[in-house]
């Protein structure tokens, strides 16, 4: 039997994940709808004054994005855990880290990327200044992959547990807080016409850190849960 290269296996698994995700379209929509509904509740609770909404726009979008992505994490490993394909993936001769990364990337493409696009629309609803739109998208572009990466560790730890969803949120939300701080402060700086380089560098550094460390932690967690 010919031995496949890691890259081939990575892209093969990525294709499988994306195909599975697209076949379950309604599941993909759930986090997105949740995101839209949570954001819609703020004008209802606070009143429709544009000035007030403009001030809280970034905060609302980011908090809603954090919550939506913590809900969407549950689908990363669950169906594979239930039908046993997760065990097969871990038992394969390929490096498990690579395979886990394929799953995380697929999760980001299916949940993080749509979130960024809908955040663009919502920023108009909340009267976010034009000058802040691009910085907000940049922070989301750097932040949502970190959600998927850090989230994959906690998801792996709680996969198959009863009441896993709530527990999962409890475990990861504290770990997301630095992201929230950097992202919101970047956008607020942009509104005031200040430089946002420092925050973006920090977010990029966090992304690189997460990219290097989390695959090992996720694989180890999955092995523990499946042992």
């Amino acid at each position: 039997m010919q031995r496949l290269s890691s890259l081939a296996v990575f892209s093969c698994l990525l294709k499988r994940e994306l195909l599975l995700g697209l076949r379950h379209r309604s599941e993909l929509l759930h986090p997105l709808l949740f995101f839209l509904i949570v954001v819609t509740m703020f004008p209802l609770a606070l009143g429709p004054e544009p000035e007030q909404l403009r001030q809280i726009a970034v905060a609302v979008i980011w908090v809603a994005a954090v919550l939506a992505s913590s809900l969407s994490l549950d689908m990363m490993f669950r169906s594979d855990f239930e039908d046993g394909s997760l065990e097969q993936i871990l038992l394969s001769a390929q490096p498990a880290n690579v395979l886990v990364m394929a799953k995380v990337l697929a999760h980001w493409l299916l949940s993080g990327a749509p979130l960024i696009v809908s955040a663009l629309t919502l920023s108009y609803f909340l009267y976010l200044p034009q000058s802040a739109t691009v910085p907000m998208l940049a922070t989301l572009l750097l932040g949502t992959p970190i959600f998927s990466l850090i989230g994959s560790v906690a998801t792996a730890l709680t996969v198959g547990l009863r009441g896993g969803g709530m527990l999962l949120a409890l475990l990861i939300l504290p770990l997301y807080m630095p992201l929230l701080i950097f992202a919101v402060s970047a956008v607020n700086n942009a509104v005031q016409g200040l430089s946002i380089k420092a925050e973006l560098y920090f977010l990029s550094a966090l992304l690189v850190l997460a990219l290097t460390l989390t695959p090992f932690a996720t694989t180890a967690s999955l092995r523990i849960r499946l042992s």
Binding site: I150, L157, L161, G163, G164, L167, L170, L171, P174, M177
Partner: protein, 248 residues
């Protein structure tokens, strides 16, 4: 692997070690508590700005230090369990969590009691308070994960990974929150070359710190004993112990 300490890695030896150390640690920590509290509440002069209300630091500062120390102990012993499969380190990590959460809560509560007369409010969204609060959430997350996984071995290993992820995150959380807002006074004790606290106030604080630390180890010994008994309940020595045999 740990040289002469190796033999204590066996659960039974560690159990007996904890049993013999426990009362000593408790006694010394009680003594230090009495000395430290006398020093802090009576001997130390009152502050020229804050009056007598500064005296809460004798509980507040040691518990804040301990809240972070306990997390490190928890994560490191979790890692030892993960890497070298040391059985007792699972028990230690698991015993640490409620203690650490208690210290964190104590730091927050005493800080809040001090904040009312000083800052005029029970709670401010200040950097150190907030990162301490997030630390409390990390402890709660660890405890929730421990409670959710029934298999003890698996729970311990899963908890170790979570604790390590938290350990990497604690500095990031700390500095990001520091950047976000700061009202808390700067560090006074750690500037060792010229501490901005007078010696007569500092010495009781250090004694209290030792007392807290020994108290932690004393309670850790008790909790670890319970954990080990439960973890090893099928082994021969525990069964003998239950019959009142080996224990001497």
């Amino acid at each position: 692997m740990f040289g002469p300490l190796d033999k204590y890695a066996a659960p039974e030896r560690f159990y007996l070690l904890c049993k013999s150390m426990g009362p000593w640690l408790s006694a010394i920590s009680l003594l230090l508590f009495l000395v430290g509290l006398y020093g802090g509440l009576v001997y130390a002069p009152s502050d020229y700005q804050q009056g007598d209300s500064f005296r809460i630091i004798y509980v507040h500062v040691p518990s804040a230090w301990m809240s972070m120390f306990v997390y490190v102990v928890m994560a490191v012993s979790g890692a030892m369990g993960l890497i070298w499969k040391v059985k007792i380190s699972d028990a230690i990590a698991r015993s640490c969590a409620p203690l650490g959460a208690a210290f964190t809560f104590l730091a927050l509560a005493t800080g809040s009691i001090w904040g009312k007369p000083m800052w005029g409010t029970w709670w401010v969204w200040d950097a150190r308070l907030t990162s301490e609060l997030i630390l409390l959430f990390l402890y709660f997350g660890y405890m929730a994960l421990q409670a959710a996984i029934e298999d003890r071995r698996m729970a311990a290993r899963a908890g170790a990974i979570l604790a390590l992820a938290g350990l990497i995150n604690i500095p990031i959380i700390h500095y990001s929150v520091e950047w976000w807002s700061t009202l808390h006074q700067g560090p006074t004790v750690s500037k060792m070359d010229a501490p901005s606290i007078h010696t007569s106030m500092l010495i009781p604080l250090l004694i209290m710190f030792l007392a807290f630390k020994l108290y932690f180890f004393a309670v850790l010994c008790m909790r670890a004993r319970c954990e080990i008994i439960e973890q090893e309940k099928n082994s021969r020595w525990v069964k003998q112990l239950a019959r009142g045999g080996v224990d001497s």
